[in-house]
């Protein structure tokens, strides 16, 4: 049987550590948000949605847990930050970033990947370890993580680190960004899970065991060359 070494042990660690950490940050963040929930989606004066309806609040037993949310948030922020920074350093040092950073062509290709995923187009563009859509998504999530850290710090210590607040466009805007990024993670998570299910077991196992089984042994994986030769 032929296998392909896909994810290093370090990558798998970062991935699986981040999963519960992000969940805890979102959960404790919600407890904080509920101290004064004000955000809505309102267009031309009509309120389409309020984050979050009262029933949601009751279901998760959220009211009056502000101080608890803050305590958890301000402990786990460290682990979330450390894991994120370590991950970025690792991809830089190991050279793994080459597999992750979008190319100039990725934005066009991602569209073709989407059409393929939606079964509108038969063939997907050739890819390396990650396809164009994954490159964009996985790089974007790093930028989002950085955004959450920066805006979070701005809200946490706006006096001591007032230049960060300035960078974020003010205290108010930093809060909205921080919240919007959280909603972004939830979207990312839902799409990610659907994609993992669609990609199947071989792909999922690689994130735990590190390797995937090469099903079609004649298939030759020469990631970047395929792209370049076309050009």
């Amino acid at each position: 049987m032929k296998i392909r070494e896909k994810h290093t042990l370090a990558m798998r660690w970062f991935h699986w550590l981040n999963f519960p950490l992000l969940l805890i940050m979102i959960w404790s963040g919600m407890l904080i948000y509920w101290g004064n929930d004000t955000y809505t989606i309102t267009v031309f004066g009509h309120q389409f949605f309020k984050f979050f309806p009262e029933g949601f609040n009751k279901f998760f037993n959220i009211p009056s847990r502000l101080s608890e949310g803050m305590a958890y948030h301000f402990l786990f922020m460290w682990f979330f930050a450390i894991n994120g920074v370590a991950y970025v350093l690792y991809t830089l040092i190991s050279g793994e970033w080459r597999k992750l950073v979008p190319h100039r062509s990725s934005f066009k290709e991602a569209w073709l990947v989407l059409l393929h995923d939606l079964h509108i187009r038969k063939t997907a563009p050739p890819q390396g370890k990650y396809n164009a859509a994954q490159r964009i998504a996985y790089s974007a999530i790093i930028v989002m993580g950085l955004g959450s850290l920066v805006t979070g710090v701005a809200i946490y210590k706006p006096v001591q680190l007032n230049w960060v607040v300035w960078l974020c466009g003010g205290y108010h805007f930093a809060r909205i960004l921080h919240f919007a990024l959280t909603i972004g993670y939830v979207f990312f998570f839902v799409i990610h899970i659907v994609q993992v299910i669609l990609a199947g077991w071989n792909n999922f196992r690689a994130v735990i065991s590190g390797f995937e089984i090469v099903k079609n042994e004649t298939e030759v994986l020469t990631p970047e060359t395929t792209n370049d030769e076309k050009a």
Partner: protein, 265 residues
């Protein structure tokens, strides 16, 4: 399409031939380790959720590890704080006309302003009292800043009064600033806060008696309240009756209810 620069090229993934036995072995180890570590992680989380509550004292209501984390954060963040870190200020016309307030703990009962005086307890146990007129004679400072509530709302507000550091200096209390903390309490002793000295003597911390250039309304803490822009609203004590100095943390209403003692911004 342009050719990618050399350093941008992705190395192909390593492939190798393995036996079914090798494969199963690797899977077993990987999934076993994954399950084991997940269990450890979950166990750690459960342990944290169920950790015993701290012994009630100056702080209470939090579990031991979470309180320790809050206190460690304070030690770390205090190093980034200095009197040179000024809160952003705004033009007076940006200040809110309807000034928001949340609570009347400590100022709920009947109150006769004529009875009010400020009692300052020095480190040596001696008490000095001041009247409203004593305080109004001191140089006045105005500040328009973004008042931040721990709940998450904020509002640009305009307050006037005497800088706490000016008050200490004019009243001959400057020697008290070598204490670690300042404690403040309402006359009915229902609401009280503890402030670390660097935050208390921050140049933007004032004992306020005016709001929007007018005498301060009762619900905002008349006759004298603390405005400390480097802290959340919960530390901005209304109707100060007593001020103390100490080297240990004075009692704090919200810290006893599970909140961070420092609550600095």
């Amino acid at each position: 399409m342009m050719k990618k620069p050399e350093h941008f090229k992705e190395k192909p993934l390593v492939e190798k031939q393995v036996s079914g036995k090798q494969l199963n072995r690797r899977n077993f180890i990987a999934f076993g380790a994954f399950a084991g570590l997940s269990a450890v992680g979950y166990g750690g989380w459960r342990a944290l959720m169920k950790a015993p509550l701290e012994k009630p004292g100056i702080t209470a209501g939090r579990s031991v590890p979470l309180r320790r984390a809050l206190n460690q954060n304070e030690l770390f963040m205090r190093r980034l704080f200095s009197r040179n870190h000024l809160v952003k200020t705004y033009p007076v016309n940006m200040a809110a006309k309807n000034v928001r307030y949340n609570s009347d703990v400590g100022i709920a009962g009947k109150f006769n302003p004529a009875d009010w005086k400020l009692n300052v307890k020095k480190k040596n146990g001696q008490t000095v009292s001041f009247t409203f007129d004593d305080i109004k004679k001191l140089p006045k400072t105005d500040i328009v800043f973004d008042f931040k509530c721990v709940e998450g709302w904020d509002q640009i507000q305009h307050w006037g009064g005497v800088k706490f550091i000016d008050f200490l200096e004019h009243m001959g209390l400057h020697d008290q600033t070598d204490a670690g903390y300042v404690g403040m309490m309402t006359p009915d002793k229902q609401y009280y806060v503890g402030i670390d000295m660097p935050s208390a003597i921050h140049p933007q911390t004032i004992l306020a008696y005016e709001m929007n250039g007018q005498p301060m309304p009762v619900e905002h803490g008349y006759p004298l309240r603390l405005i400390i822009p480097v802290k959340y609203g919960i530390k901005n004590l209304k109707r100060i009756g007593e001020i103390t100095f100490s080297n240990t943390r004075p009692p704090d209403y919200w810290a006893e209810l599970g909140y961070d003692y420092y609550s600095g911004l």
